[in-house]
Amino acid sequence: MTKKIFPPVLLLLAVVSAQAQQANPCAGAGYVVAFFNGVNTTFSAAVSEDIVPLKTIYGNQFNNEPVSYFTFYNPTDGLLKDLAEAFAQKQQESPEIANRWELFWDLIDGTTDILTLVLVENPALADLINSLKNAVLNEAQVQAETLISQANFQPIVNQFASTMTTFLTEQKKIMAVAHSQGNFFLNSVYDIVHPTLATESLEVVQVATPTTTVRSVGGIYTTSSTDLVIRAISFVLGSTEPPNISGPIAPSEDTLGHSFARVYMNPTYNMLAQIKTDMDAAMLALQPPNSQGSAGLFTVTLTWSGTGDEDLHVIEPNGTHVFYASKQGFTGFLDVDNVVSFGPEHYFASCDPTLIQDGLYQIGINDFNGADGETATVQLVTAQRVFQAVQLSTGPTRGPAGNTSPTPVFNVQVTKNADGTFSVSKQ
């Protein structure tokens, strides 16, 4: 069986040059393309295979501004674990596939790559594997039904929202593209972040959505009537957005007709044109965020869950204390200070090697006024890594008295490498 791959060499060159260019942590504001992965995927697919078609379209530059790509990786281990159990059970009934765990991956991908290799030994396996495809659909149904009530759903939404807020604070415009299960996360993240924005600096494009509503302008989305995963999910959820385009039936790239890269974004099929139209419109509609934040070697962003004035404090390695009353540090600067509600407050460390101090940066917070009993979220970001945000209580109001003893949140270690570059870690 020949696989359809994205054809032109020119597209490939665009991808390669995108990869070759190193991210400059202090590059101008620009665009972020944020991808929210689907349900029956794995990290390998989401972070690479699914990002490639997006990179192929938008490359390094859009409107003469840099474009960077992020995968907002929502967990898929629940589905994988359930499918592994179903596969193990099937093995007990069918000794032909005993220990043939490589076939498990055909189920995840909806392909027959591995099966094809095995069929020559045992043609009867085709029926076994086909019967397991129903298991994929069943587990996708279970996931969709329980996802929002799962214990880790809201913490992940909060993490994603914190990351988006950081990008927006650093004047980046965001186009978020969600596929499948990713739409549940994107809707919830959008509902947190979008109301805080003064300009249309966050646009969404929704693909294969199992949700009841979408957040895109005009309620547009792309769901194929031949996507068996979404069809199965809407059967149990009842009120999902209906399919609005007819895609390929059981394509060899993914016989469930569901994969983002291999089906929806495949130039062979008709969905790509519609999705690209929606993405182009979203990119063109994006407005600069109303923010003064800068990117940096590292940045720290503080948000909180209500009204009041929570303050971000940074004590740099040489003892310089950076906070609202003394915004200019030796290395960094407090470039966003919020005294009303929600935040953000934002500190960035300069990218100028003559200003960067190696050593420990102590990050703390203080409830200056009226943010009592709320939740503070503190996010550390570098060009290489979006760290897990730390959540803690905002604490009782301490006024200026708290300025000298902010509540410690974490430390940032900056190390100068032999080649003159700097590494940043969280402690």
């Binding site: 990869q19 990290f43 390998s44 790509y69 995968t71 674990k81 991908d109 591995i114 290489q384």
Partner: protein, 244 residues
């Protein structure tokens, strides 16, 4: 030997032996050089399904000389539904099973048994998560073999090995979100390297490598544990060196 019979002999064995009759006439000639045995190498090869294997035949003559793959060899397979063989001894594996590859030369014959196996039959399925790695390159030896059989260029092979090693590390060493993140970045780097070396068709190979690496229940579950530790993380694109 009469001149007439000498001509017949030349017709049979070809011009290489014509010098033995050069004297001609009724004078008695030395004994003719004739082939005595034929040996096929490599002996008993195992050919992976869809792959080819070049065989050679060495003919030994009555004067003790040998000739490797002389012209005039005839190759045949005992079962062409399992393996075929070309006129030059190139065996093509068609389906799993056992066959005999025969070769004849001037009335004598030889042969070797050959086996066709799928790549799956050669996979390590031991209880150990890591499996054998005799060459200590961070990739299971059977996965080395799988990658070696993909028909890739040296740079592409190196990229595939980089990805395979990253998968192996992620399976073996992920204990929390921090190790999960670091391991995930190396998987990402390996895939980006494959894309750089192979173009967009790389996923065909990366999917095979993943499936064959995580080919036992224990390995699949260990990989799922890695996935468990990175769920909810935001991943930027790779910076720095892509191909190690």
């Amino acid at each position: 030997m009469s001149r007439r019979s000498c001509y017949l002999f030349i017709l049979t064995l070809g011009s290489a032996l014509a010098t033995s009759c050069a004297g001609g006439g009724s004078k008695r000639s030395p004994s003719p050089v004739v082939p005595t045995s034929i040996q096929v190498t490599p002996e008993s090869p195992t050919v992976l399904l869809g792959k080819t294997q070049q065989l050679a035949a060495t003919v030994r003559f009555s004067d003790g000389s040998t000739q490797t793959s002389p012209s005039g060899l005839t190759w045949a397979s005992s079962n062409t539904t399992i393996a075929t063989v070309s006129g030059t001894g190139l065996v093509t594996a068609v389906a799993p099973g056992s066959v005999t590859i025969n070769v004849t030369f001037s009335g004598i014959s030889g042969g070797t048994p050959a086996k066709v196996e799928t790549i799956l039959a050669t996979l390590d399925r031991s209880a150990s998560l890591s499996g054998p790695d005799a060459n200590n390159n961070g990739v299971r030896d059977d996965i080395d073999q799988v990658i070696g059989g993909l028909g890739l260029s040296p740079a592409q092979t190196q990229a595939a090995l980089q990805y395979a090693a990253a998968l192996q590390v992620a399976m073996l060493t992920t204990t929390d979100s921090n190790s999960g993140f670091n391991n995930a970045v190396e998987i990402q780097r390996g895939q980006d390297c494959m894309a750089q070396q192979m173009g967009l068709g790389y996923t065909k190979y990366s999917r095979q490598i993943r499936a064959f690496t995580f080919n036992t229940q224990a390995r699949v579950m260990a990989y799922i544990n890695f996935e468990h530790n990175i769920g909810g993380t935001v991943f930027p694109q790779i910076t720095g060196t892509i191909c190690k």
